[in-house]
């Protein structure tokens, strides 16, 4: 393959507006009767069909890519008979428990930390650098240290997931707190609210939409960290299931596990959006 030289390119004249009018940045007029949802459905069907076709024609060895049917059958058998000493449901419950335990811990720590950052200069001075330090580190990097400190038991796994959730919860809370309108706070104070009452009755509810957004992001982050956490001598959990299946080259279980993780993540996201609509119906309507 030859590299196109600049002189060759110069022949093709590019003026300033060309850069702005690339086809993918142009908002195309909405075509009648075509919804994004329908296009998404078709896309998924096409991917499934291609997958099935390539498996059917044996373009790729089943060891590398089992057919969708094999994945589905595996789903049924693992759900019924289990894999590595636990049924699919038990694996899923083990994983969900870890994520939710971590979520509770992350909220218990992250919301007060976020409040401290948003309300007080000292709080911001203390926690901002710590969070900014923690935030960009991939969970796999601090996992070994957590194991050295806390062993390979359940607490280590929950701790790793908690750490990955902490920054999104705390930073979203802080940004929510900073966004509270001063007029609202002044109104409460002029109605006789003490500092604590302002926090409890005005700042916290005002920041709730932000906190829930943080929770949603945190759940995504935690769910991704899960697999890493479960690589550590777990005996149950979806991440563990995939990991052990990979060691025995049981690729259909690996693929099935990935899809189950994706499906659960989708359901969680959907549920939280529902909760948001019930809990903070005023968000975006002020």
């Amino acid at each position: 393959m030859t590299v196109t030289s600049y002189t060759e390119r110069a022949g093709h004249k590019i003026d300033e507006t060309d850069g702005l009018s690339v086809p993918w940045s142009r908002p195309s007029p909405k075509r009648k009767g075509v919804s994004a949802r329908a296009v998404s459905a078709v896309t998924i069907l096409v991917v499934l069909a291609l997958w099935a076709l390539s498996a059917r024609l044996q373009l790729v060895s089943p060891v590398f890519l089992p057919s969708p049917i094999a994945g589905w059958n595996k789903f049924i058998t693992v759900a019924r008979d289990g894999f590595v000493d636990a049924t699919l449901l038990q694996h899923a419950v083990a994983s969900l428990w870890r994520v939710f335990a971590a979520l509770v811990a992350a909220l218990a720590i992250g919301v007060p930390v976020g409040l401290a950052i948003g309300i007080s200069t000292i709080g911001r001075g203390i926690f901002d650098p710590l969070l900014e330090f923690l935030r960009p580190i991939p969970p796999l990097a601090y996992l070994p240290l957590v194991i050295i400190w806390f062993g390979i038991g359940e607490p280590s796994k929950i701790l790793v997931i908690t750490i990955s959730m902490l920054a999104p919860v705390a930073l979203s809370t802080a940004s929510g707190v900073r966004g509270v309108s001063q007029e609202r706070i002044n109104a409460a104070r002029s109605l006789g609210a003490t500092q604590q009452q302002v926090v409890r009755h005005v700042i916290l509810p005002s920041a709730l939409p932000s906190i829930l957004t943080g929770l949603r992001i945190a759940l995504g982050a935690g769910w991704s960290t899960l697999v890493a956490a479960e690589l550590v001598a777990a005996t149950r959990g979806l991440g563990f299931m995939i990991q052990s299946a990979a060691q025995f080259l049981v690729t259909d279980v690996v693929v099935m596990g990935i899809l189950v993780i994706a499906a659960i993540a989708f359901v969680l996201e959907f549920t939280i959006r529902r909760i948001e609509r019930v809990l903070v119906p005023w968000a975006g309507r002020e």
């Binding site: 007029e183 109104a187 104070r189 002029s190 006789g192």
Partner: protein, 263 residues
């Protein structure tokens, strides 16, 4: 020296306000005395420090010089004896209209049934009897300001501080809200300190109008229009506004506000 007062008085005594990073003071040597039953209105062009003065009375801004006091006690922080109503209603969207009104009572630990009852009374007073269960975003601008007023009254303040409460409303709603304000003022006998841009509004509502001029903010004229007293003693608002004396007063007030602007 704190002078002894028997009647409730909200007093700003030779107050100057100086904001950080600004060379000139925003307000210089302004004195305001609001007694119980007074309706004092601050008018003036932009930048004359009307809202700053209101914030000093509210305890939200500390004066650089001079004293602010309520019933002889210095004002150092906001308090429910001086409830504020803001231009943007500053209502709490996570609460219903009734819960918003009951907010001050909730802060004081009043029992739920009792505070709901009191809130409904106040909602009736501002003519929002059926709106108690409504969410804030379901209310119109005028209704929201009524809720804001009821919420302020629930704190049982001795003084109401109104920061352009009708500024964001359309002309018709505004006119209707003026009579609501007068009715509330007559019924509750609170002292009112209000900031407005509306010349007619000032004349209709005030027992006393302080005209402020900018650069630095200071009081240049004082009027005692007396139209609100006439409303309180039963005269219709339209009759008052149609009175030739009203037109004369409007002319005088307008002249006072724009005096020296050409300079």
């Amino acid at each position: 020296m704190p002078h002894l007062v028997l009647d409730p008085h909200l007093v700003l005594d030779k107050v100057s306000i100086h904001y950080d990073g600004q060379a000139a003071p925003a307000v210089e040597l302004v004195s305001i005395d609001v007694a119980k039953g007074d309706f004092v209105v601050l008018v003036g062009r932009s930048g004359c420090g009307k809202t700053s003065l209101l914030n000093v009375a509210a305890g939200l801004v500390a004066p650089a010089r001079g004293r602010a006091s309520i019933n002889g006690k210095p004002i150092t922080a906001p308090g429910s004896d001086r409830a504020v109503v803001f231009q943007n209603d500053a209502l709490f969207p996570w609460l219903t209209a009734r819960e918003n009104v009951a907010f001050a009572l909730r802060l004081r630990g009043v029992r739920p049934a009792e505070r709901a009852h009191r809130a409904d009374e106040l909602l009736a007073l501002v003519k929002l009897t059926d709106a108690g269960d409504k969410r804030i975003w379901e209310l119109s601008g005028g209704m929201r300001q009524r809720v804001g007023l009821a919420r302020a009254l629930a704190a049982e303040p001795e003084f109401l501080l109104l920061d352009e409460p009708l500024g964001a409303l359309d002309a018709l709603t505004r006119e209707r809200m003026q009579t609501t304000l007068l009715d509330l003022w007559t019924a509750s006998e609170v002292g009112v300190l209000m900031v407005t841009h509306g010349i007619e509004e000032a004349l209709v509502l005030a027992t006393r109008i302080l005209v402020l001029a900018p650069g630095p903010g200071r009081v240049v004229r004082t009027f005692e229009p007396g139209f609100s007293r006439r409303y309180a003693s039963g005269e219709a608002i339209r009759t008052i506004k149609a009175d030739p004396a009203f037109a004369v007063a409007r002319g005088e007030l307008t002249d006072a506000i724009f005096e020296g602007e050409a300079a």
